[in-house]
């Protein structure tokens, strides 16, 4: 923790609010236009559609979190990672799951340390209270020391709080937020809209520098209106063939162009089948790498049959693809 935070985040008492800290504009150059973002991301190995670039551009300039939805494996999480690499700040990741609570997401008191310190400091009590007459005087002497045990020294920051404490800014990724409980969503709200958290014993902690926030969701449940309201919404569908080919070109540059075209056309036909789990973009990339490893020059049915399990992950699905192999290869050929 101490490695990341150079100092403690701004503490704001309930009565006196400091002036809102604006996100630093250090990265304005990198977010000068959607085109600039597209270019920068492509260098980092992420091909983003115009829509993604525009949303990122807006998110940076309007200082809003982005809620990214879409089927599994289209690069939702990757988007956050690449953004962090692009602006060169640490990526702080919070993986959501059922039962996640604030002590794991936000902060936690260091109970052990608190206990230890009370034991150690017990002997010092006499020195502190020396010269005090009566109970009330001792009391007021003790009060001079305030709540020393509930201060930042005893606070263990979890991802959300950590993200606020990084002085040079950070990318906060709240992954699979749909897996968390409804209550968790509720205390995300404060961070998303004001970039601050409230710790009852201390007060409100504001961000030193507003983090770039991504929330990803697989849509296993609908997010609440309140959460959506605070975010920009980005839906990433499966890419169209042209874009997917572009992705392959960037991610697996050594692959022959004819093979790229064949792979993408075939995968798009497979996605049309009624499968339990349709192959994602990441699986297309895996498949392309396998092809490269096998030194294949072009796609044929035998090769497909042997490597089917790279992108189809269920026994039933494999059988279905086997059954339709002839027609989908024919359709894929026609599409090219």
């Amino acid at each position: 923790m101490d490695g990341i935070s150079s100092g403690f985040a701004h503490l704001v008492g309930p009565t006196q609010r400091r002036e809102r800290i604006l996100m630093n504009h250090l990265h304005d150059g990198k977010f000068a236009s959607p085109e600039e973002i597209t270019r920068g991301f492509e260098k980092a190995g992420y091909v983003c559609s115009r829509k993604i670039a525009t949303t990122l551009y807006l998110a940076y300039h309007l200082q809003k979190p982005v809620l990214v939805e879409g089927p599994a494996g289209v690069g939702k999480t990757e988007l956050a990672k690449i953004t962090a690499a692009y602006v060169d700040v640490p990526l702080i990741r919070l993986q959501c799951y059922e039962g996640l609570d604030e002590s794991k997401a936000l902060y936690e008191w260091k109970y052990g340390k608190q206990l230890l310190y009370t034991q150690i400091l017990k002997d010092k009590l006499n020195d502190v209270l020396k010269g005090a007459k009566g109970l009330s005087q001792s009391m007021s002497k003790l009060h001079e020391y305030d709540d020393i045990f509930f201060s930042e020294h005893f606070l263990e920051p979890r991802p959300l709080l950590k993200a606020l404490q990084v002085a040079e800014g950070s990318v906060l990724l709240v992954d699979e937020v749909d897996k968390s409980d409804q209550e968790f969503e509720a205390f995300l709200l404060e961070i998303l809209s004001d970039f601050q958290v409230s710790v009852p014993e201390i007060g409100t902690i504001e961000a030193l520098c507003r983090p770039f926030v991504f929330l990803t969701s697989n849509n296993t449940r609908e997010m609440s209106e309140a959460l959506k309201r605070r975010c920009l919404h980005l839906f990433i569908p499966f890419p169209d063939p042209r874009l997917e080919k572009e992705i392959l070109r960037v991610r697996v540059p050594d692959l022959a162009e004819i093979l790229q075209m064949q792979l993408v056309a075939f995968i798009h036909q497979v996605r049309k089948l009624d499968l339990k789990k349709v192959p994602s973009v990441s699986e297309t990339i895996d498949w392309a790498r396998v092809m490269l490893l096998l030194n294949a020059s072009s796609l044929n049915q035998g090769l497909i049959r042997d490597t089917l399990n790279v992108f189809v992950k269920f026994e039933d699905d494999i059988n279905i693809v086997h059954e339709h192999l002839h027609e989908i290869t024919a359709a894929a050929m026609k599409e090219m």
């Binding site: 982005v66 939805e69 919404h233």
Partner: protein, 447 residues
């Protein structure tokens, strides 16, 4: 620009996209930021700020394309043989000038202004289309154009006549354009009204009257309901997690006692999810009702709880696998037709159905199971097998009987409802979504 955006947002709201004031402001910021030079950029940025789910994105796309339709209004071919002589006397109105010079942009702007003045966003019924068309034309100054045409024709000179003819053509084209424009705007502003009415209407409609084309909509209502129930369920579940030893909270609470643990704190995990066995009568008399109930169970099956489903007519069969293997529409058709299920569509025999259940599946019923029976209890005067129902009652947590007939008909004719009722924890009339909602609320409230 802001005014246009407000109109657009109003149109979106009308189409059923929920947009808060905060989102509205975000959209304005985003639009101001992106500018409106690039149509696609504007669309993407509005989409990111306004439409917050896949479903809403679809509505957004269609609304955006309709609202900001780019096809320029068609204009009749200009007369190739020479420009008509201008300044033939009387002063032409501004609209006449625009028509004659073919100023499409000007016309389009004038049309939208007139439309706003005519409050096109208040259009509600398709019968109002011609009214609004007329109002817009009036607002654009059509009367002056008519005057010009009359004046030009009256002058009787060659050039004037030619000009009058050109003006007439342009006027007709403009009228057509305005008509098209109103046609486009109508679903934008009136669509929602119809949709909302439809949804309210469907919610109280007798289930048996449902038609195929409303099926999808029904599906959405049920999903909405299931979602709400789901929320309630998880909330209750959460409350129960409190109550094994919670080390962190205990330490925290006992810091005050020098770390001596004299005030232990607890939390417990006890997740109790409803376990349902559903028996459905699929005989002719209740067929349409069953269709709905099965649809509801299909959704429930996917969303909330574990359900075993059975259908019966002359005998009883397990159909849980049908729900699991087929998409909803197909599953319902399969169940209604009884494709490959081994069900016999003779007279309804509740006795046989209960006997079948007892023989094959009684072990599925435990003291945590809720048994739901759907049917009119019309047994064709056969043996009602009260004993088996009593056995069911003893084994299960509760039996709920949902009868599509109103209670006044229970026990009349061959209905055994009055006798079956005695063993049911709850017996209700259930033939609309509202009925159903009440039953499910009860189901989740009581333990």
């Amino acid at each position: 620009m802001d005014q246009v955006l407000q109109d657009f947002i109003a149109a979106l709201r009308n189409s059923g996209v929920r947009i808060s004031v905060a989102e509205n402001m975000d959209a304005l910021h985003a639009a101001a930021f992106m500018g409106c030079a690039d149509r696609q950029d504007l669309k993407d940025s509005l989409s990111a700020t306004l439409a917050k789910s896949q479903y809403e994105k679809e509505i957004f796309d269609s609304c955006f394309d309709r609202f900001f339709c780019t096809e320029s209004p068609s204009h009749p071919e200009k007369d190739s043989h020479g420009e008509p002589e201008m300044d033939t006397g009387g002063q032409d109105s501004s609209l006449t000038e625009m028509l004659l010079s073919g100023d499409n942009v000007g016309l389009s702007i004038a049309m939208r202004q007139a439309a706003r003045q005519a409050n096109i966003n208040e259009i509600q019924f398709f019968t109002q289309k011609s009214l609004y068309t007329r109002r817009i034309l009036q607002g654009m100054g059509m009367e002056a154009v008519e005057g010009d045409i009359r004046r030009l024709s009256g002058e009787g000179m060659g050039t004037s006549l030619q000009k009058a003819k050109a003006l007439k053509d342009a006027r007709d084209a403009l009228m057509q354009n305005v008509r098209n424009f109103v046609e486009q705007q109508y679903p934008l502003f009136a669509g929602a009204a119809t949709e909302e009415i439809m949804e309210r209407y469907l919610k109280d409609m007798r289930l048996s009257n449902l038609e195929q084309r409303d099926f999808q909509r029904m599906h959405r209502i049920v999903q909405k309901m299931v979602k709400r129930l789901n929320d309630r369920h998880s909330k209750r579940k959460k409350a129960e997690k409190r109550g094994c030893f919670d080390l962190k909270r205990t330490l925290r609470a006992n810091v005050a006692y020098q770390g001596m643990i004299i005030d232990p704190r607890w939390k417990s995990k006890k997740i109790d999810r409803a376990d349902i066995v559903a028996l459905c009568d699929v005989s002719r008399s209740v067929e349409d009702f069953v269709r709905f109930m099965l649809l509801f169970f299909y959704n429930l099956n996917e969303a909330v709880v574990r359900i075993r489903s059975y259908i019966f007519c002359s005998n009883l069969v397990d159909v849980t696998h049908v729900f699991e293997e087929h998409p909803v529409e197909e599953a319902l058709v399969r169940l209604q037709r009884g494709v490959g299920l081994g069900i016999r569509f003779g007279g309804t025999d509740y006795g046989q159905a209960l006997r079948d259940f007892k023989e094959n599946w009684m072990d599925r019923v435990t003291n945590r199971t809720t048994v739901i029976i759907l049917g009119d209890a019309r047994n064709n005067f056969g043996d009602p097998e009260m004993g088996i129902l009593r056995l069911l009652q003893e084994r299960s947590k509760r039996i709920i009987w949902l009868n599509p007939e109103p209670p006044t008909f229970w026990g009349t004719g061959d209905s055994e409802m009055k006798r079956y009722m005695a063993y049911c924890t709850l017996s209700r009339e259930c033939s609309t979504v509202n009925h159903l909602q009440r039953v499910v609320d009860y189901l989740l409230r009581t333990r």
